[in-house]
């Protein structure tokens, strides 16, 4: 009987020891160096895990800050006090804000863009989009059922005439709307009061014209008149580079469909 106990115990013990040693070696060899600043930063964060900074929680925000990818003014809960503490720990000047705002790249209100289907009873953009692509005749257009409105924690989005519109002065760049839009047409742009091509359609010009009066047909007139070469036409969609744009407004004058609009800060 003792023989059995000893045999089984030694087999189990021996294997356990071997595996334990293997794991110890592996954990040393494949060690991931964690920056200790992350722990320091995490300690001063409020810990509410609300996601208003745009990250998935305070842990993720701490990592993002240390990596230098997030602004220290990004936390509305911590505010000014937090920003100054963070500037101490990270050595970054407070007030270096990357004040981005979200914008819906579509201008298809009911009178401009044709409607294909009537989703009676379905009040969710994601649901409508997964069932035959949504009510809009344009496959890339705003669904207009309000998923982004519900996602925004700062009430910065309104639906007018079937089109979502972001009140850019209220936007805190949390990017929740960007994540929830099923058509992926909400983009982050550097600042408000800008000229933008408000269309995301990758369809050919004739198709766009059939579905919507204000869509971009890719004619390229805007690109030709732009004095700072800020407009590029990729395929059949024009895009304005906000870094190069000087807000002169020449593009909006020549656009045949009215796809270029100026987005003021207060809607």
């Amino acid at each position: 009987m003792f023989g059995e106990i000893i045999t089984s115990a030694s087999i189990l013990g021996g294997l356990g020891l071997a595996f334990g040693l293997g794991l110890a070696i592996a954990s040393k060899k494949f060690e991931v160096k964690v920056d200790e600043r992350i722990a320091l930063v995490r300690e001063v964060l409020p810990g509410a895990n609300c996601g208003a900074c745009g990250q998935t929680g305070c842990d993720a925000y701490a990592e993002c800050l240390v990596e230098g990818k997030c602004s220290i003014n990004g936390c509305p809960v911590g505010g000014e006090e937090l920003a100054s503490k963070l500037s101490e720990i990270l050595g970054v000047k407070a007030g270096v804000t990357v004040a981005k705002t979200a914008r819906v790249m579509c201008a298809g209100i009911y009178s401009s863009c044709k409607v294909k289907f009537d989703y009676s009873g379905l009040e969710d953009c994601l649901a409508a989009s997964s069932l035959h692509g949504g009510p809009s005749a344009c496959a890339y257009g705003c669904v207009g059922l309000g998923s982004c409105v519900r996602a925004c924690p700062f009430d910065a989005i309104v639906i007018i005439d079937g089109l979502a519109r972001i009140i850019e002065s209220k936007c805190k760049s949390c990017e929740k709307c960007v994540a929830v839009c099923p058509k992926k047409i909400i983009e982050m742009v550097p600042r408000c009061d800008e000229y933008t091509v408000s269309c995301s359609s990758m369809d050919k010009g004739a198709v766009v014209r059939k579905n919507c009066n204000v869509g971009c047909i890719g004619c390229g007139k805007c690109s030709k008149v732009c004095p700072s070469e800020a407009i590029m036409v990729k395929g059949t969609l024009a895009k304005i580079d906000p870094e190069k744009c000087t807000n002169c407004g020449e593009c909006m004058k020549v656009c045949p469909t009215g796809a270029i609009n100026r987005y003021r800060c207060d809607y």
Partner: protein, 193 residues
Amino acid sequence: MNQTIAIIISAILVKNMVLSRFLGICPFLGVSKKLSTAVGMGGAVVFVMTLSSGITTAIYKAILDTENLRYLKTIVFILVIASLVQFVEIILKKFVPPLYKALGIYLPLITTNCAVLGAALLGIDEGYSVFNSTVFGFGAGVGFTLALVLFAGVRERLEYCDIPESFKGLPISLVAAALVSVAFLGFQGLFGI
């Protein structure tokens, strides 16, 4: 060769780990809410199952396959699987950090997952060689991933449906899983397996 192919088809379709043998229901219901996490979890399980089936069968044939030591197989297999999962976690954290973050708590869940232990024990029961046992582990993992991915698709659609209050959440998921399982009954007798 024929036996190897039969093993793979059996493990993936005919005797699917989740939908026919009902092993590994815990991660099946826990991780199948989003397609991306389902795929990630499936990949980790394939990796762990293949390696663990091979290693456990090798250890069994080398050390435990004698009259008075066979009873140790359960606990030794658990030891092997636990160490393997720890190892996988270390590798993932170093080489694929986004997947490590996405899986989070689910990776240690694979340790206590009856599907992984089941694949190892079933390989022994059927008397497979080390090679065939590894193939069986791989097939079982792929079958598990298949079930997970299919069910993730079903669940994503289920979210937009009008479900009665008392069925919301887990109950309707279980009913849907049962229906998917019945659908897989259609594979019985495939190629005479």
